[in-house]
């Protein structure tokens, strides 16, 4: 007889990929982040939540290296990270999706995801233009990878459809596909479920979990849907007015008094 339960996710030994130490950031007089520290562990799904204007997107931008903190340090894979040029961000192994969709709307799904492979194409302008030998092999390799992502995200039926003709939920999926194409170690998702209906949300949740499970990608997501956050994340960090007020397992955060106050207001 077969056991009825598939066993729980095997507990990974915790290995830090990024440490953010006492980071602060302000825009003029507005203090977006105040003395925030956060550790990110390998292969975890970390959710960052908080009311509007709490500094969540700022936090993502710090992690991805778009913003450089005024105070504090960011340690990436054991080394202190200095200011990074935009084109080097993706090379670090960090990919992201955006709160509002940022795809090339006139291009097909396939081409959009292929753009995610851009950094991994290395054969030089001449060969690429002539589509000779190496360039050709390389194109085949990249196409293979992209096809695997298309299969993974179950968007085979729209492979050759321009993105602008697709419904919102599918566009979001394509955007995730493009981020995955870069084979990131760390994937940042800025409100991946915003504006979706229940079914689309459920699909997206499954994809996020599958990415984490199959590719072992570390995922940080910002999300407002508490059901989603509590269901899929391993750990939750809560920001309020630029400060981190809680950080822990979903079940602990849910009952944390400070968190409840931040969300419901202090009575």
């Amino acid at each position: 007889m077969i056991k009825s339960q598939a066993t729980e996710k095997i507990n990974q030994k915790k290995h830090q990929v990024m440490r953010i130490q006492n980071v602060s950031l302000s825009f003029g007089g507005l203090k977006a982040l105040i003395d925030v520290s956060l550790e990110i562990y390998q292969k975890e799904i970390l959710a960052i939540i908080g009311p509007n204007g709490a500094g969540k997107s700022c936090m993502l931008n710090i992690i991805s290296g778009i913003y450089t903190p005024e105070e504090g340090t960011v340690i990436w894979k054991g080394k202190k990270r200095e200011k990074v040029a935009p084109h080097n961000i993706a090379k670090m192994g960090i990919a992201r999706t955006f709160q509002n969709i940022a795809l090339f709307t006139g291009m097909t799904v396939l081409d959009n995801i292929l753009t995610g492979r851009n950094l991994l194409m290395k054969r030089g302008l001449f060969y690429e233009a002539m589509f000779l030998g190496w360039a050709r092999d390389q194109e085949i390799q990249h196409r293979k990878k992209v096809e695997k992502i298309i299969d993974f995200l179950e968007i085979q039926a729209v492979r050759k459809v321009p993105v602008s003709r697709l419904p919102y939920g599918i566009q979001k999926r394509v955007e995730l596909g493009r981020a995955l194409a870069a084979e990131p170690e760390l994937l940042l998702l800025d409100e991946p479920m915003a504006g979706m209906n229940v079914e689309e949300k459920e699909d997206m949740c499954r994809f996020v979990l599958d990415v984490n499970e199959q590719f072992g990608t570390t995922i940080i997501l910002i999300e407002h849907d508490m059901g989603v956050v509590m269901d899929i994340s391993d750990r939750v960090a809560v920001l309020d007015y630029g400060r981190k007020i809680a950080d822990g397992l979903p079940k602990d955060v849910r009952t944390d008094k400070k968190v409840i106050d931040a969300y419901l207001g202090v009575g």
């Binding site: 077969i2 056991k3 459920e202 599958d210």
Partner: protein, 653 residues
């Protein structure tokens, strides 16, 4: 392509089981394509040789996992080469494959796995694994789950859940003498497959079909239609359905043609276009949906194109059928049709992926004559057949050049048909071996002389063609004593593109009423063009304008009925549009989309009562099951509308 030499030369007396045919195919067709699957955007082909080799490896692996002669192997999933391989491997070992409907809910699967005493189940993917795991505690005999697609299953740390690739990629050397020995042990009266019929009433029954049943029928069909190794078929209908086992397994084995598995359900239209099958089967619903979609899209076409379309469709209507039937057609008729082919029919067929179709079938339900003739007028040789799981599909089949849309054609060669008490009975070499563990039902269905009751009421016309009227037990009487045939009325309603499903009531009542399900696509597009705003099915179904639209359709049906002496009393006096689409997940339809009358009149009892107590509206709350198995309620106030009926000739008397 039309020679069919390969089918005629095969000695099916000697090749009397699928394993024997397969062994022969590996020698005769060797590197010709046996099965294709689109994966990662590319069609991947297995030749007959590869297919046979893989079947051997899999059979050996099954044997090592304890599968023995006579054991049953359940299969759950979409049409995938590895699942077809599972069928071949099980049969090679003398085990009996039991394919299940892939959409079945967990407890439906539970019933079959339990009833068939399954020890090993082979499934497509994680979805199906989870479904089986959900009910595993109630299946003490099941000891192995194997799967094809490993996605999402990597972390299932369970020794009894294994990928098929474990066996297929193993380096085990399978000795050919062992394989030959196993194959030679199979014989024509062994059970080839067990198929559970969905059944409009009660629990599904396991139909046992022997090699002889399937091979004799499929062989004859191959001969009639001249199938050869060059034909192509797309496998997209459930593997648990008997048709798939005839069209895509038995006939493919015998004729050697290639079976193509689509990439996913959503890509079917694209895959059809890429493959261009020469042999195509679809239930009426699919043909009708295709036509509806086409008409909806034509509404958005530029005026010139629409004019061309309308003009040449008229030409096709006038001459297309006669040309297809090779009848005499004036030269200008042929010329116009030829022009139409260049401008309209050719591109249209290409768009639908039907350019190369040589033989197309439909069966299962009645199909509107207009829809039927539409496809034939395009030059697609669409034919009706009448069949049953218990008959290994074929009971009747329309002949080329002699197609009447009102009938299902004459008896299939080797089949005897008779009508007894209005019910259709038949006898043939395809008649099943019995229901599994249900002798009583077998005896109720097959009489001592071998006649099988179909449960369908029908008549045989002057040309010897069978016409199916209704399920025999559904035919009832109005209180006036006039005959009432719900299916007949429902079919007439469903021939209107805007009506997707209908359920008629009238047995033991004063008059006839009906429930309507509108076709969301057709009515949605109509609403868009007529500035009717709506938010979803419930909203659209409740709108007065939509009621008007449906009323017009029913008015026409009533006019038709009024001309039909015996049925003029069956004109519909009241109707309502249901607030939800009838769904197999809610038990309202069978898995093959047939209406379950009992369930519906129970679930919607209040509505039926309201129809007969002069109410104008009725409030109803219905429990629905969502795709993920969760339950919820939807409720609505449903309007009931009265209709004027037509005077019939009888009424005057």
């Amino acid at each position: 392509m039309f020679l069919g030499g390969n089918t005629l030369s095969r000695n099916l007396e000697l090749l009397d089981t699928f394993s024997k045919i397969l062994r022969d195919n590996a020698a005769v067709f060797a590197n010709k394509a046996a099965i294709r699957e689109k994966e990662y955007g590319i069609w991947q082909t297995l030749s007959w040789n590869d297919f046979y080799n893989n079947a051997q490896i899999l059979a050996y692996g099954f044997k090592k996992n304890g599968v023995k002669r006579g054991d049953k192997v359940a299969i759950v999933g979409d049409n995938r080469p590895k699942l077809y391989l599972t069928i071949a491997a099980s049969q090679l070992l003398g085990a009996i494959p039991v394919p299940c409907y892939q959409d079945s809910a967990a407890d439906e699967i539970l019933y079959i796995l339990d009833h068939a005493e399954i020890k090993i189940v082979v499934v497509e993917n994680q979805e199906q694994v989870d479904k089986v795991l959900e009910v595993i505690d109630r299946l003490p005999k099941l000891n192995l789950i194997m799967y094809d697609d490993s996605r999402g299953l990597e972390n299932y740390d369970n020794k009894s859940i294994l990928p098929l690739s474990n066996i297929l990629d193993s380096k085990d050397k399978v000795s050919s003498s062992w394989v030959d020995e196993e194959i030679n042990k199979t014989s024509k009266n062994d059970i080839a497959i067990m198929l559970y019929t969905s059944g409009t009433t009660g629990r599904p029954k396991g139909v046992l079909l022997s090699y002889n049943n399937l091979i004799s029928v499929a062989g004859k069909a191959c001969e009639i239609e001249k199938f050869s190794v060059d034909d192509e078929v797309v496998a997209y209908l459930p593997m648990a359905w008997v048709g798939d086992n005839i069209f895509c397994v038995a006939q493919s084995y015998i004729a050697g043609f290639c079976v193509n598995c689509p990439e996913s359900r959503d890509t079917l239209a694209i895959d059809l276009r890429e493959i261009g099958p020469t042999y195509y089967f679809a239930p009426p619903m699919v043909w009708e949906a295709m036509l509806t979609q086409l008409m909806v899209r034509m509404q958005d076409a530029a005026r010139v194109k629409l004019w061309f379309f309308n003009y040449f469709m008229k030409v096709a209507k006038n001459w297309g059928n006669a040309i297809l039937d090779k009848k005499e057609v004036p030269i200008w008729g042929r010329l116009l049709y030829g022009l139409g082919y260049i401008f309209v029919y050719g591109p249209l067929k290409n768009n639908l992926g039907l350019t190369r179709v040589r033989i197309a079938y439909t069966a299962g339900e009645a199909m509107g004559p207009d829809t039927f003739l539409f496809y034939r007028s395009l030059g697609i040789n669409l034919k009706s057949l009448y069949g049953q799981t218990e008959a290994s599909v074929f009971v009747t089949l329309q002949n080329d050049g002699d197609v009447d849309p009102e009938t299902v054609g004459p008896a299939f060669p080797g089949v005897d048909i008779k009508i007894s008490d209005g019910e259709v009975l038949y006898k043939s070499s395809g008649v099943f071996k019995g229901y599994y563990k249900n002798d009583k039902a077998t005896k109720d269905t097959v009489d001592s002389k071998g006649w099988v009751s179909t449960g369908d009421a029908g008549v045989i016309d002057s040309k010897g063609h069978l016409k199916i009227i209704d399920r025999a037990k559904d035919v009832g009487k109005l209180t006036s004593g006039k005959i009432f045939s719900p299916k007949y009325i429902e079919n007439k309603l469903k021939f209107h593109g805007i009506i997707k499903e209908a359920v008629a009531f009238g047995d033991n009542k004063d008059f006839v009423t009906c429930f309507i399900n509108i076709d969301l696509q057709a009515v949605g597009s109509w609403a868009e063009r007529n500035n009717v705003a709506y938010s979803g099915y419930i909203d659209l179904a409740g709108q007065d304008e939509v009621y008007d639209l449906v009323e017009k359709a029913i008015y026409e049906v009533n006019r038709d009925l009024s001309k039909d002496g015996a049925l003029s009393a069956s004109q519909i006096k009241r109707f309502l549009i249901l607030h939800k689409e009838l769904d197999a997940d809610d038990g309202e339809l069978t898995r093959t989309n047939k209406v379950r009358r009992g369930t519906i009149s129970e679930r919607y009892g209040e509505l039926v009562d309201a129809m007969y107590n002069k109410s104008k509206t009725c409030h109803i709350t219905t429990e629905v099951v969502f795709e993920d198995g969760k339950k919820g309620d939807i409720s609505a106030d449903i309007n009931i509308r009265d209709l004027e009926v037509h005077f019939s000739k009888e009424k005057a008397a």
